[in-house]
């Protein structure tokens, strides 16, 4: 990813973060006006602190300075040195507004604004600093701003972060900057807002999480998402309909009551008839006939009644199902955003890179209005960027070469999106030189993935699969743009992470096409329902290889490990109850229901109690209070009301691997993959409560090929680090719930985790802060300034080496 693009998204991220933090400051200050409670000051301190750091990263020096003095005041207030009166709170609120104003500025408008408003900013800062020094100091002149020392001068220089990546920066800097590529659902805020304007109104309604314990739930439930008004109207219509429909059931239930009464009468008839026959000879035959006739009549009536009720019940059921389906569809579509929301940066990317390479390329998007789940859309940007770069760099020929091949000088890269059979298909096609499968075949042999005989038998499709192996690149020379070992495997892992797949087709000399097949939504998955330890669990269907019944006698044992044979492969068997730490149900006997799961290098058979069937589940997140539960990634509800846990297959495969002590069933392709697995990319966990910093670190690390996961605070980080395997943890110090020092301390006290190196990256650059971090056990202590040069990345490489050997 070019530094330009990451800058764009960083500013957007900053804007997003500022929105939340400013809202917290606003409502915090308002609350402070009514009562001075230390509990309200603490979150404001954090908000100002985070704003300061985030503003520094995006180069909004003025916002950084204002946030800095605000933070000072809050610190002073918390320690009791300063008591705020309404007038002073007013001053602080104006400072908050000023930051809001800066954050709302259009990217290109910032320099002009800074020039025009320098005095106003200095004035506001002076007034805020004056509060701390008490009434006497309030009269001092405005240029007396000692709380912002040389920092301002230092930072004006680097208006934006420019990670000194070796990649080429495609854009011409003198050019006017286009509207930034925004994350989903966030539009650039209009720059022409009035001075002293409040942040957008919607923000003001967000409550500040005051009690730390309620923090997480409030944060998640208050996440604002964009839903079209039309969509919401239809939802309301459906809600109304379902209310009416639900009430229609009542008369049917009453009718069944009547039916029951009718059957009661019939019972009476039969009893009378029975009595009459019992009396034997002296019974009048007419009497029996009369009773029988009555019984027949009652049966008739009940049957008619029943038929009518059933008709009504059936039409109710039909309407109910239809309604539920429409409601479901509507809710799903409320989560969809048009693909173009995530592709705004691509035309620019293609133009810039093509120009730099001296190639002529046209870029078309088809089906830009295709709905994509917002969660998926977020994840698509990186892999598509990657594919486009690949196409530009490797596939598209220079104009002369194209002309020689009889092709138009201008090449075409086309991005198409459509819904196919309930899946989202995204196809990136180029009309470049295509991929030479014979070269792949040669490389497969050269790399020792297969011998010559075997390689000769591989089909084109099988050969193309090798492109997705980490580090398997057909381009010999490493260029600035691509081919750095961060390859198509990244694209594949993104697709797989959301339950999709990638397929590549190519014609030599004619072009290549990558097709990503992804679920339309992440919120509903097709799943296989199984029972484990007597309770329901679900496997996402897309992540299952096979479902089998294995007979007891087919199970073999070597060195105490059970396995069975499937297509000439030995597949290790493990009991799901054992993996999930549940009481083992019945001993393995008779026919074992087995779910076969795999990741790129391993295949396992998981024995479950029973397989219950296939169904759609709407996925909900696990309660954040539980932290990361191993092998589980989400939860849903079954028709009968039972909660069901949805299995994280990737995690499960890792756990099984651990359980079996790393013994795996290996086949040819698996062996190849396994050998590349040794070279798997190193994984880094980034823990920071500021989304701006988090994403910056992620961008920097991912550009170097590291796999990055993020956690939003210390506690989240602690849960995450325990739940996965990481080669390195990068943590901030000041975070809610658990700070970085505590996190480091806990990691270093844990027997299993203590060997993981931890890098602290903080704004605090005093010697005692550094000492505190290192004493807690951190392996390195960096300041956030280290992003501006190579220090951060060099430190990471020193500690754990390059992303992959």
């Amino acid at each position: 990813m070019s530094s330009d693009l990451s800058d764009f998204s960083l500013i957007e991220l900053f804007r997003l973060e500022a929105e939340g933090q400013l809202a917290a400051l606003n409502s915090g200050l308002l609350a402070l006006e009514s009562e001075s409670d230390p509990a309200t000051i603490e979150p404001m301190m954090r908000a100002a602190h985070s704003l300061k750091g985030a503003a520094r990263i995006v180069g909004m020096t003025e916002a950084e300075r204002v946030a800095h003095v605000l933070e000072d005041i809050f610190v002073a207030t918390q320690t009791g040195r300063v008591r705020l009166d309404p007038e002073q709170i007013d001053t602080l609120l104006k400072g908050v507004d000023l930051i809001g104003e800066i954050a709302a500025l259009d990217d290109s408008g910032l320099p002009a604004w800074s020039r025009e408003n320098a005095e106003r900013v200095d004035g506001a800062i002076a007034r805020i600093t004056a509060i701390e020094r008490g009434p006497a100091a309030a009269l001092k002149t405005e240029d007396d701003t000692e709380t912002t020392p040389d920092q301002s001068a230092k930072k004006v220089a680097g208006r934006r972060v420019r990670p000194r990546s070796k990649r080429v920066k495609p854009s011409d800097q003198a050019e006017p900057v286009e509207p930034p590529l925004g994350p989903v659902g966030i539009e650039p805020i209009d720059a022409v807002s009035a001075p002293h304007s409040r942040p957008p109104a919607a923000v003001e309604f967000q409550p500040v999480p005051i009690e730390p314990a309620t923090g997480p739930s409030i944060e998640t439930s208050d996440r604002v998402v964009r839903v079209s008004a039309e969509n919401l109207n239809r939802l309301m219509g459906l809600a109304g309909e379902s209310l009416v429909e639900a009430r229609r059931l009542r008369p049917i239930v009453d009718g069944i009551g009547e039916l029951r009464a009718g059957l009661g009468e019939l019972w009476q008839d039969l009893v009378r008839l029975d009595d009459a026959t019992q009396r034997g000879r002296d019974t009048n035959p007419d009497e029996i006939a009369a009773h029988a006739a009555e019984a027949r009549r009652d049966v008739r009536r009940s049957l008619d009644d029943l038929a009518e009720r059933m008709d009504r019940l059936e039409s109710h059921a039909r309407r109910g199902e239809d309604l539920a389906e429409r409601l479901h569809f509507e809710v799903i579509s409320s989560r969809l955003r048009p693909l173009t929301d995530g592709t705004r940066g691509f035309p620019r990317l293609v133009r810039d890179v093509a120009r730099q390479l001296g190639k002529q390329v046209r870029f078309d998007i088809e089906g830009g209005a295709t709905g994509v789940d917002r969660d998926i859309l977020d994840k698509l940007e990186a892999p598509i960027t990657h594919l486009i770069r690949n196409a530009l760099d490797h596939a598209i020929e220079p104009p002369e070469e194209r002309a020689a091949a009889g092709k138009a000088a201008q090449a075409l890269i086309r991005l198409e999106a459509r819904h196919v059979a309930g899946m989202l298909q995204i196809v990136l096609t180029d009309d470049g030189r295509g991929i030479d499968v014979e070269r792949i075949r040669a490389k497969v042999v050269e790399r020792g993935h297969a011998n010559t005989t075997m390689a000769a038998q591989l089909t084109d499709a099988e050969l193309l699969e090798f492109l997705f192996l980490p580090g398997f690149s057909t381009k010999h020379e490493v260029t600035d743009l691509s081919g750095r070992g961060v390859g198509l495997d990244v694209v594949q892992s993104v697709a797989q992470a959301v339950g999709g797949s990638v397929r590549v087709t190519t014609r030599l000399g004619r072009g290549t096409s990558f097709a990503l097949l992804l679920p339309i939504t992440l919120s509903v998955i097709r799943a296989l329902l199984v029972r484990i330890g007597g309770e329901p669990y679900a496997f996402p269907l897309g992540r299952i290889d096979r479902i089998l019944k294995v007979r007891r006698e087919e199970v073999e044992v070597i060195e105490g490990r059970r396995f069975f044979r499937l297509d000439d492969r030995a597949i290790g068997l493990v009991s799901a109850a054992q993996v999930f730490d549940r009481a083992t149900a019945a001993a393995l006997e008779g026919v074992l229901p087995v779910v076969v799961v795999s990741d790129r290098s391993q295949v396992f058979g998981v024995v479950v109690d029973s397989v219950l069937g296939e169904l759609d589940l709407d996925v909900r997140p696990l309660d954040p209070r539980l932290g990361k539960v191993p092998n589980i990634n989400s939860v849903s509800i079954l028709e009968d009301g039972w909660p069901v846990l949805i299995i994280d297959v990737e995690d499960l495969v890792r756990s099984v691997d651990n359980l079996l002590g790393g013994r795996r069933a290996l086949s040819l392709a698996e062996a190849a993959a396994a050998s590349s697995r040794v070279k798997r990319n190193r994984r880094v966990l980034v823990v920071d409560d500021s989304i701006t910093v988090r994403e910056l670190e992620r961008h920097l690390l991912e550009a170097r090929g590291y796999e990055v996961e993020v956690a939003v605070d210390g506690l989240d980080g602690w849960n995450t680090v325990r739940g996965g395997r990481y080669d390195l943890v990068v943590s901030d110090v000041d975070m809610p719930r658990m700070d970085g020092i505590q996190l480091v301390t806990q990691i270093k006290q844990d027997a299993r985790l203590r060997s993981i190196p931890v890098v602290i990256v903080s704004y605090k650059d005093r010697a005692e802060d550094r000492l505190r971090g290192l004493e807690a056990g951190a392996d390195a202590y960096l300041t956030k300034g280290s992003f501006h040069d190579e220090t951060f990345l060099t430190t990471v490489e020193d500690l754990i080496g390059a992303a992959s050997e």
Partner: protein, 191 residues
Amino acid sequence: MSQDVLDDAADERTRAFFDRPPPEGYLEEWTERLAAPDDPPEPDVRSLLIFRLGAEWLALPTAQLSEVTSPQPIHSVPHRSNEGLLGLVNIRGQIRLCVSLHHVLGVDPAATSRRVTPPRMIILQDHGEQWVFPVDEVTRAVRLSGSVLRPAPSTLRSGINHTRTVFQWSGRTIGELVLDRLLESLRGLRS
């Protein structure tokens, strides 16, 4: 709305209905009632829900209870071995954490007294924080004045405990749980 309702005659009838004068004395009565000062609030009255755990009778403030429901199936959470954390339950389509108050308060679940009503689940809600716990029986909510509360026996006042006061109700001694302490203990359960 169908067409016939909107025809002119119906329209007129509707208007006549809604615009009819109020009955005699109606306005006066309501003016008087709304102008009257509010009844002074009873001092220190609290509303408590009484429930049973094992052999113990306890009470929690109703303001913090969002629902009492029939028992729902509890799905255990793998790798979370804390006995107090029972698992996940479905409460009206929302997945909630279910905990064992028996475990938190050290009540023997086996000890039962004569059951009058079926077991229930109580949903505790405080500032967006929700906990669900099964109880053996819920009797009713009561309103009582703070003056009937007595300090809990001194044996309960040492160490960590959740009951500060007790009261008599229907011939039983009922312990009033201190919400904050209870929440604190519940939060301690999660990992």
